[in-house]
């Protein structure tokens, strides 16, 4: 696998400095920022490496084989020339991506599922047990008390167990993902299943990222989706609590739809989103497919737009992701 990766990392900006049987290390030569605004997603960055990996592991004969994992907020420093104000943990990772050797796709609507097993070169002697060897160090990027109480609320356990909480988004949404590095196994599971039961979300995730780091996500919002040609986003703005009964729900929806403030805020989000897409999409293809749709959740209603565009030749799904990063 290492030999294969060495061969496929062809971007000139990727400089490999260390290679062994188990490890490949190197760095990215960034170079100057491009002059054209619409080329900024093409600037040499760690995403150049990801683009190589996507090309290497993608297969025309397989709809699912690819990379699965998480991107962190700090990837914005790969795209924008921003000055980092606060120090980060030395072992903080901004990207963790997995190539699956076993994958289960399950459709709850029909109850059908299939298991796909992949034999990849160099994976015959992989370890079966990847239990964390030691806990992560304290990692917090916001006011600690807020996230302690938030973690206690969703995981349902005491102050001590939640003292190391690293709030992070998995894909998108302030109510989205949280890294819970040192919760006990049962509590992580309880946290994840609790989220699913109490607040079922359209975009949920539970990830074991290795090194004792876990990511739990319960997001209502799709950040961006692209098949390489079409790019879609669903900006959310406008929130109101559910009513006590069906009549109450109807009254709350009426109030939300009649709120000029919520309407203008969603206008702003969608305009920003369309502007982001304009960098990488064919002019004239960016359309608002749905306007102020009501989405119903367990405790509240959201108003949501649905925006699409068609990618210009020379841009791919990763450009679609980068152009909207870091997102609102």
């Amino acid at each position: 696998m290492i030999a294969f990766l060495t061969d496929v990392l062809r971007e000139p900006c990727v400089v490999i400095s260390e290679k062994s049987e188990r490890r490949l290390a190197g760095q990215i030569e960034r170079g100057a920022a491009p002059v054209d605004e619409d080329q900024r997603t093409r600037r040499a960055s760690v995403m150049s490496l990801v683009r190589d990996l996507m090309a290497a592991f993608g297969a025309n004969d397989d709809p699912l084989l690819g990379l699965f994992g998480a991107f962190a907020y700090d990837l914005v420093f790969q795209i924008e020339d921003l000055v980092q104000k606060r120090p980060r943990e030395k072992d903080q990772r901004d990207i963790v991506l997995y190539v699956p050797d076993r994958l289960l796709a399950y459709d709850r609507a029909t109850g059908r599922g299939v298991v796909l097993s992949y034999d990849l070169p160099g994976t015959e002697n992989r370890p079966r047990d990847c239990r964390a060897k030691r806990p992560k160090r304290l990692c917090q990027d916001a006011w600690p008390r807020i996230f302690r109480s938030r973690a206690r609320r969703i995981s349902g356990h005491g102050r001590d167990g939640a003292r190391r909480v690293c709030p992070r988004r998995s894909v998108r949404g302030g109510a989205g993902g949280s890294c819970l590095p040192n919760l006990a196994n049962a509590r992580r599971r309880k946290c994840s299943s609790g989220c699913s039961r109490i607040n079922p979300s359209p975009y949920g995730a539970l990830m074991n990222l290795g090194d004792g780091e876990f990511l739990v996500s319960a997001s209502p919002e799709m950040f961006v989706r692209s098949d390489g040609k079409r790019v879609e986003t669903c900006p959310i703005s406008g929130t109101i609590a559910r009513g006590v009964d069906a009549i109450g729900d109807a009254e709350q929806i009426r109030q939300l739809l009649n709120s000029e403030k919520d309407e203008f805020e969603l206008n702003m989000c969608t305009d920003v989103d369309r502007n982001d897409k304009a960098r990488v999409c064919v002019p004239g293809t960016i359309k608002v497919l749905a306007r102020r749709q009501i989405e119903t959740y367990s405790k509240l209603f959201h108003t949501v737009d649905h925006v699409e565009g068609m990618l210009r030749p020379g841009f791919d799904a990763l450009d679609a992701f980068l152009t909207t990063t870091p997102g609102p």
Binding site: D7, L49, A56, L64, K90, R188, P202
Partner: protein, 94 residues
């Protein structure tokens, strides 16, 4: 739901676009939704990802529930550095 996954052949060999030889076998999942929870518990010990999508808005969003256990390779970056490993890595050096 991407239903093309349900019509894949039971056994196939192919190469990825990067030239990696892959052998894929497909089998039906039995046990129903209850068994899913047992499989998700494996994430306590193994690297992997569970993704779930549960909302359907006709004509816009689709339902899709891929679930993944164990990774063959992992790649990450520390700022501008990167590494890749073919097996469970030891602690990364700076």
């Amino acid at each position: 739901m991407n239903r093309t996954v349900f019509s894949l052949p039971g056994h196939s060999e192919y190469r990825t676009r990067g030239g990696l030889a892959v052998t894929r076998s497909v089998e039906q999942f039995t046990g129903g939704a209850n068994r899913l929870d047992d499989l998700i518990d494996l994430l306590d010990r193994r690297r992997g990802v569970v993704l779930s999508s549960g909302t359907t808005v006709p004509g816009t969003l689709r339902q899709f529930r891929p679930r993944l256990f164990r990774s063959a390779a992992a790649a990450g970056n520390e700022r501008i550095r990167f590494f890749a490993s073919s097996a469970e890595p030891t602690r990364r050096s700076a």
